[in-house]
């Protein structure tokens, strides 16, 4: 219970930290992905003339929304959590606190922001006449929870390794960029040549883009087995990441 209270405090602090001193305050959190969406839509729809394959295709922008928001939640949460321990070195050196809370809060704060943004844009799309299944929104949020578990697993791993090897946070933006383009965020699996399609299953993020598209837009499908598989992967990554974090935790102070 005290750990949870502490986590809430740090989430609040994380949200405030991000917008403390900025003119637009929290609004930026909602605008930034919208601007991103506008840029990507322009490039892909008007320059590359991207089309979503399939008969009842929902249009490229809704298709992109389903990939972009979950990706932002995942990648930004990961980027922030990676330096969570290092950034709070001063606090860790002076106050005894469960360090897991710092990593958890960094990821949770970002998922909270992106989750709210996601709900807002899904409802906005419905208002503008995009055939989004609003009744599937609670189901989609469950998908966010599952993605959160996966992100948390990677976050624990990266935050712990970052304490020892500082190169990680510098390499991470490139790594995440590579990861984004090797996930079906901008394209559908069907757009790939036949023989490469199976490779996507090795990417733990693939499931989520396809899940959100199927659940909310009715584009493509997701099976129970793939859901269980993704859940299994999330739990394994979480368990492994957390175990490594716990193992390295006693030595953080020595290397910070």
């Amino acid at each position: 219970m005290p750990a949870l209270r502490l986590a809430l405090h740090f989430i609040h602090r994380e949200l405030r930290n991000r917008y403390l001193g900025s003119f637009s305050g929290g609004l930026w959190a909602l605008f930034q992905p919208l601007i991103q969406l506008a840029v990507y839509s322009f490039v892909f729809v008007y320059v590359f003339k991207a089309k979503v394959p399939g008969a009842n295709a929902p249009g490229y922008i809704p298709f992109l929304v389903m990939g972009l928001w979950p990706w932002n939640a995942f990648a930004e949460g990961l980027a922030r959590a990676t330096t969570a321990i290092q950034d709070n070195a001063a606090l860790i050196g002076k106050v005894a606190l469960p360090r897991e809370v710092l990593v958890f809060s960094a990821v949770a704060a970002n998922f909270l922001l992106q989750g709210i943004g996601f709900c807002a844009i899904v409802i906005a799309m419905r208002v503008f006449g995009v055939p989004v299944d609003l009744f599937a929104l609670p189901l989609a949020l469950l998908g966010f929870v599952q993605l959160f578990v996966l992100a948390l697993g990677f976050a624990f791993l990266f935050a712990a390794v970052q304490v020892f090897v500082r190169d990680l946070s510098s390499a991470l933006p490139q790594l995440l960029m590579l990861w984004m383009f090797s996930s079906p965020v901008f394209f559908a699996r069907d757009a790939l040549p036949e023989r490469y399609r199976g490779w996507l299953d090795w990417n733990p993020f693939t499931y989520y883009t396809e899940f959100f598209r199927a659940a909310l837009l009715g584009a493509g499908s997701f099976s129970l087995s793939s859901t269980l598989m993704a859940l299994g992967v999330a739990v394994i990554v979480f368990t492994l990441g957390y175990a490594i974090f716990r193992r390295l935790n006693p030595y953080f102070e020595d290397f910070l």
Partner: protein
Amino acid sequence: MQSPVLVEARRLGKTYPKVFHRRDRLRALYRLLTGGPGIDSTSVLRDVDLEVRAGQSLGLIGENGAGKSTLLKLIVGVLTPSSGEVHVHGRVGALLELGAGFHPEYTGRDNIALSAALYGLNADEARAKLPEIIDFADIGAYIDEPVKHYSSGMVVRLGFAIVAALRPDLLITDEVLAVGDESFQKKCVRWMEDYLDGGGTLILVSHSMYHVQKLCRQACWIKQGAVAASGDVFEVTQAYLAYQERKSAAQPVRQDSPSHAQEFYLIDLALNGDTADVPLVIDQGCRVGARVHVHSRDGREPVISFGVARADGTSVYGVSTEMEKQRPLRVSENVYTVEIEFPELALLPGSYLLRAHALDTEGVRLFNTLVRSITIRGESREFGLIRLKHSWPAANSETNVAP
């Protein structure tokens, strides 16, 4: 019945890894993960046994880098022991270094909320404590300013106010009082005395033997990562001070080398008949005699001045032959001698310096100075430097009151 143990350390040790090269970090990570052979490390603390019971007050003393702060951090749980174990029971309030966990961008008020959350208080409890904390910190309108605008004294005030309001079972502080101003130091010391009277437990790190002796009943002297002495506060602090003296005696005190071209110079200084340059250790209230021999180039009579100073240089008393119309005895054509005697030296226990100065016949020009250290032993709990003559005309003596 003995009170419960709050802190229990058994063969506690801490080593820090040696990380010099970029590759060392990667290797350390690999070894920690695979449980391979240990990393090269420097030992900062070893085999420390410690037990603090509820209601006790322990002072940790020692030189810089002896491992006092590391020991505190191990007790607080900020560091993990490399060997041995430490168990802490009860709510711990810790003030480690300056600005314990404050965020510089946040206001004092926000930082109070964070500290409260770190100590496990819920929002209501934190709100209830807020006026008390603000009142104790007494930093006025600064409470709504970001902590980065605070002076170091204000940071300490706020930090101490928070810990004070939490009423921990065990209070741990690390040489932070030194930063506050006089009035706040007094406030803190008064609070700690009340806290101790109320059954609180204290672990204090301080270089001020005054604070340690005033607040603590036990002391533990950490020397190069190990316990050098522990037990009664007076025994331990005096052993520590004596060690400090021996150490400074080993590096000769800066003494003017006598130049034979000078008109006057001190040849030697004997304390109680001993000219060897080692600290004189005597009991409180004993006799001290200081005798010097002076060389006079032209055979003129010198003026000799004697002074007593605290080990840090603060002057306690000074007197010269000229002031009291005394004249040195002539031993030979160019050598004079003079002795001063303090029959019952009123200095309180501690370390002092005795200085002798050679001046010219008029008592104006100062030639050379000889310095010797004196350590006064004793168990007096009085404060200050010397015992002033006193009596208690309106008081009951406890020794006369029936128990």
